[in-house]
Symmetry: C2
Subunit: 189 residues, 2 copies
Amino acid sequence: MPSGGETHIYSHLLAEKVRVTAAQVRRDLMTVGYTGTPAHGYDIRKLREQIEAFLFPKHGEQQKAAIAGIGNFGRALLKFFSGRRPSLKIVASFESDTEKLDRVICGCQCYSIEKAADIIREQGITVGIITVPDGESQYVADIFVEAGIRGIMNFARTPLRIPEDVYVEEIDLAMSMDRVAYFARQTVN
Amino acid sequence: MPSGGETHIYSHLLAEKVRVTAAQVRRDLMTVGYTGTPAHGYDIRKLREQIEAFLFPKHGEQQKAAIAGIGNFGRALLKFFSGRRPSLKIVASFESDTEKLDRVICGCQCYSIEKAADIIREQGITVGIITVPDGESQYVADIFVEAGIRGIMNFARTPLRIPEDVYVEEIDLAMSMDRVAYFARQTVN
DNA sequence: CTCACACTGTGAATCGTTTCACATAAAAAG
DNA sequence: CTTTTTATGTGAAACGATTCACAGTGTGAG
């Protein structure tokens, strides 16, 4: 067995760290395309490079995102994502509330939703975040898709009707909470 | 065919509204325990009652929740969940930042994390929300579980090590965002 | 009354994901 | 050099969730 986990690491050690099975780790690394050796496991530096190459845009390229709806959540997300990934930046926010328009909020310029299509196209924005009230989410999504956005994170409760080739991540916090509350209630007190 | 969707509704109409298949709706209602009739579909009023009986505590009972970490996200969640479900209420928040201690923040009393165990036990809190920085999440989770919490919503990036009988909903926004960005990049430009 | 229709409830098939388990390989020990 | 050990990569099995498809049933039409 090689010394410590200095430069190399085994699948089962990685697995332990992230609470999954070793098989899962190996399977995932397979799709990432990096392969280790039975003798030393995975070369940490190279593995890391490989994962980053797989996951993020080539060095230098930057993906742009926009967020619609900057209520409590929108602003929290804005702060959360700002500076987290150098390769992804939220460059514009959209609102219908006229109070917030044309100001910089949480470090991000806020525009009227009507200008969204133009700005998305001009700036080449590919990722959209939707935190508007339920009723407006489809409307916003339609604008996003039409303007060329390729991936959407949707926090509204109603699943969006979206073309097949646009990726959507539906995040329904109310439902998640219902699940937690439900199971918390099931277990014997 | 019965008149309009006044008092009754068919699985395929429900399915359309929430963007799933009719079979899925019927399957779900099966587990909820309500059964309709081929003639009229589901009685909306009774269906609703049945779902609520399945999903929420009996009328009058209230589940209590606590949140640990009231940064931007914590506060947004606090506002988001307050008043959303009469049957679930966030009754306490915990922080390590001494600035925030012993004040009411977003309508919720903020305590030192050290008092968490006592307060959870005293008040019979069963649901915990964790929005603390990554490094502290396991520490908080251990306190929660030890104090008797039965369901946890975890927003920290590291999955928690938790006994089998406590339900955990892991919500990893950074990973969700990575997925969206990844797929947005894959599609042909 | 009988027939045709439309919908439900559910067993069986399908699909995507996770886990198992083993052939293979490289190092270390003898 | 040969044997033993331990880890990888991956085909195949297991699992969970979704979808198909159809028998059963009540209703309205004729």
